[in-house]
Symmetry: C2
Subunit: 216 residues, 2 copies
Amino acid sequence: MTTPPPSVYDYERDGSQIYERSFAMIRAEADLTQIPHDARAVVVRMIHACGQVDLPADVVVHDQLVAAARAALESGAPIFTDAMMIASGITRKRLPADNNVVCLLRDPRVAELASTWGTTRSAAAVSLWGDRLEGAVVAIGNAPTALFHLLELIAAGGPRPAAIVGVPVGFVGSAESKLALTAFTPAIPHLVVHGRRGGSALAVSAINALAQEREI
Amino acid sequence: MTTPPPSVYDYERDGSQIYERSFAMIRAEADLTQIPHDARAVVVRMIHACGQVDLPADVVVHDQLVAAARAALESGAPIFTDAMMIASGITRKRLPADNNVVCLLRDPRVAELASTWGTTRSAAAVSLWGDRLEGAVVAIGNAPTALFHLLELIAAGGPRPAAIVGVPVGFVGSAESKLALTAFTPAIPHLVVHGRRGGSALAVSAINALAQEREI
């Protein structure tokens, strides 16, 4: 263990260089003109996470998203998410106020609520966020049902989060849930990837970029 | 908390139905003809995780991948991975032998090794897998440097894993690392997504599919 294996391949081994060259390639190749200026670094980081420079064509960012999310995080607001992978991926040292990152999918109450309510565990877990949701930052990267349920809670007069990263992935309900978020009134500052694309990596990269302005 | 919010949107709320309809849509839309028969369910699950039915065009699956990975897991082999998100996402109840899932990125030795060796923490962590790597299943979904380092370890006579899911993502070294894996001799059973695409969700979905034949 005291020596590395002999070099066979010629590749970049400097982590900072890899980040810098990656972000430069993304800025050179991706069309970010439709993205608000203050959100471009967020979308660059999302492209970095999925390897696809065509992502911005499907991205819609509300013009208050970055300001609202960053202010909330700096004031100590928690981050609520629908997947353990997302909670795991958020880089704690980028969070400005040691913010709590909360996923309640494994809460012991979830299975019974989901069964009683006839919905998914992901959706039931959203109801457990409770009053702490007021002014919080939400990242939904897995379940369309969680995003629909969240919007239904808010529509019923429930707590309003400060910002919603809405990037559930998939084939059943995903595109529709993101259309519902962008059409919601009164609007909540949001970021979506329209269509089927989405997922934990996109949710995590968006939150990690919103947490701090510096890129690396 | 004893009642769900009133229904506003018309969406599928049955988790099993969502899975089944999703997998059926993927099988109807995706061209899986180039994928070995026993690996098609693996690729379907990967498509489910990224929302993109064009994924198979970039996927290469070694003809022994499924048999080798499944036999290793059934015999209790550990799963080594390069990212905490991947370790978090693997569904433990799908694992056939309560297999250990190991990511050593946060091992206290990693930072110094990476600095001494002039490589990334992701690559240095691979060296810490040690002899347990022999016959194990590897899932690399983040760092190209981890995959290059792994191949260099094996080329130097180190332990040989039973199977490698090689889906690092990104712009610097990612495509090259996956070409190196498919060209490696003697071949190790592998699955790659060529090009820039990859990431934690693809790595996790591949492992979750390899762990068990049943889809849901």
